[in-house]
């Protein structure tokens, strides 16, 4: 895809006998039970720095969550350092595993193509699930891990996408150009949810497209925990900040379907390139926050949105306008781009003609079909037993291959696969071979690493500290550098970084 991308997923935990007020402590223990790695380096982090050119005074917190914090019955001393709080480490596959607000969080290594990113996302599921099983063996407590975005009581947690972008695209142009696409991509990227949250009509919505659409209040801001924005403005490029920005999207759902995840990432990457090349938005939405909720809640499947010029048009038409421009620009570019363009067109056709046939590709359709089969079998309808339907919804996202409902669909072959066990197993231990994650993983395997971040590795070497600056190693593919020998020395790595960094 020719763009550095990554996914960060916060997983939900249910631990028998553990109240939400003690979840933070136990989530830390779950993460602690994961694979060992090198400590995270916090020096590069600046969560208050805003892309719009200022520094926020603080980040908003969720009042309901603050209440949970106050009632925490956790015993023992509270964490005093970020390392104690987050038990943050970088793994040999170049990924980051840590604890955040009661959730195990897994950030994939940087990937240059969808094939790698999907395998690494799946690898993250297995790493977190295995950590939970280690925790169970150690503590005797049963633990369930969910890859979803809501607890059905108004608390949400994210699956964030990261895309490296050129800095010279003005942020305002990025927002205007991206919003209509982001708001309407839930047509294929949504993971589906029983009911609604925080909108006053919780019981009247039987089912909606997106897990996350109910949780946005702003267009753009630096916050992520409360009054969440569709576009997060945190300015942490983890690369040369004069040349690059990292677009940190927090509005996506966590996908179980590999196809839906790949389509979400692939289409977004193409739209970003279009914007970098000067393309503008085909339309302007009257109210993007209202529009994403309205599309998500629309059971008639007309998915109409209001434009700022007073017209009302189908969300599918907005997606088609982006697709048309992408086809003009990217046809014949490479194999994966061809896949994205082809499948994007196919999905829009099917959404228009017969959404039912998308159960093999889209999470929201697969889950809805599954629930309808259940209701049919039980001779019930959507108005009955909301708790049971939400519980089945939740079970779709259970990572346990013996219990999770999604895994049955995958085993049956009714969910389309884009990767396989071999690639996933490899991704659990090995970084992508063509990005700077390779250098990070290599350092962890071969050297005495003091700490690591996305843009830097500190190595203890011959009684001194060597800083490896990876911030310039983001342009293009590492594969085009001279091949790194299997027994690479630190000098080899330094030389490779210098060569990679010299490319403009």
């Amino acid at each position: 895809m020719d763009r550095l991308m990554g996914l960060e997923t916060e997983y939900g935990l249910f631990i028998d006998g553990i109240d939400v007020s003690d979840l933070t402590r136990e989530a830390r223990e779950v993460v602690q039970s994961g694979p060992i790695g090198a400590p995270w380096d916090y020096d590069e982090e600046s969560p208050l720095q805003d892309l719009r050119g200022f520094r926020a005074s603080r980040l908003k917190t969720n009042p309901a969550d603050d209440q949970v914090e106050r009632t925490s019955r956790s015993h023992g001393p509270r964490p005093r350092t970020p390392h104690e709080e987050h038990v943050d480490r970088v793994l040999t596959n170049g990924a980051r595993l840590y604890h955040d607000h009661g959730h195990p969080e897994y950030s994939t290594p940087e990937c240059l193509n969808l094939r790698d990113l999907i395998a690494h996302d799946r690898a993250g599921e297995r790493i977190v699930w295995t950590a939970a099983q280690n925790y169970r063996q150690r503590t005797g407590r049963t633990v369930t891990v969910y890859k979803n975005n809501t607890d059905y009581h108004g608390m949400s947690y994210g699956c964030h996408e990261n895309y490296l972008m050129q800095r010279d695209l003005p942020f305002e142009h990025l927002v205007v150009g991206l919003l209509p696409f982001l708001v309407t991509r839930i047509l294929y990227a949504g993971s589906g949810k029983v009911g609604a949250e925080g909108t006053g009509d919780r019981e009247s919505i039987g089912y909606q497209l997106s897990q996350r659409a109910d949780f946005f209040d702003e267009i753009a801001s630096v916050d992520t925990l409360h009054h969440r924005p569709l576009i997060n403005t945190r300015d942490e490029p983890h690369a040369d900040r004069h040349r690059w920005r990292r677009l940190h999207l927090i509005c996506g759902d966590a996908n179980l379907s590999e196809y839906a995840a790949a389509l979400k990432l692939g289409t977004t990457a193409l739209v970003l390139t279009m914007l970098e090349r000067g393309y503008g938005a085909p339309v302007e939405l009257k109210d993007p926050i209202e529009a994403i909720r309205r599309i998500s809640h629309d059971l008639t499947q007309c998915w109409l949105v209001e434009l700022s010029d007073g017209r009302t048009i189908p969300a599918i038409d907005i997606q088609r306008a982006y697709l048309l421009a992408a086809e003009e620009l990217f046809s014949g570019r490479d194999e994966e781009t061809g896949w994205v363009l082809r499948e994007w067109a196919a999905v829009l056709d099917d959404l228009e003609a017969n959404p039912q046939c998308l159960g093999d590709r889209l999470d929201w359709v697969a889950k809805r079909d599954m629930l309808e089969s259940f209701l049919e079998m039980e001779n019930k309808d959507w108005s009955e037993d909301a708790d049971l339907l939400r519980s089945i919804d939740l079970e779709y996202h259970n990572l346990d291959p013996e219990r999770g409902l999604f895994w049955t669909l995958r085993q049956e072959g009714t969910s389309r696969c884009l990767t396989d066990d071999g690639a996933i197993q490899a991704a659990m231990h090995s970084p992508p071979q063509d990005t700077r994650a390779f250098l990070r993983g290599l350092c962890l395997n071969r050297f005495d690493v003091k700490s690591v971040s996305w843009g830097r590795v500190l190595v203890r070497h011959r009684r001194r500290m060597v800083e490896l600056d990876l911030r310039q190693t983001v342009n293009g593919s590492l594969k085009s550098s001279p091949q790194m020998p299997a027994n690479a020395t630190l000098e080899d790595v330094i030389e490779s970084i210098a060569e990679f960094s010299s490319r403009r």
Binding site: E10, H101, Y157, A345, D349, S373, D387, I392, D420
Partner: protein, 60 residues
């Protein structure tokens, strides 16, 4: 951990399928609503109180 059984992917899941047919547009497979015994049995075993008991901290 129990091995996750997955369907083998096609040799080239990202490449354009060469079906020798009309290339004017992609075609959708006919997909039946999942109705297998395994899936329905798993759904019947779901604890109906699980979603009510499931409480999380606010994440990002």
């Amino acid at each position: 951990m129990p091995e996750r059984k997955t369907q083998p992917t096609t040799d080239q899941p990202w490449t354009k399928p060469n079906d020798g047919g009309d290339e004017s547009g992609p075609r959708s497979p006919e997909v039946e609503r999942p109705n297998t015994r395994d899936l329905l049995e798993r759904m019947k075993r779901v604890d109906p109180r699980q979603a009510r008991r499931y409480r999380q901290r606010s994440g990002e």
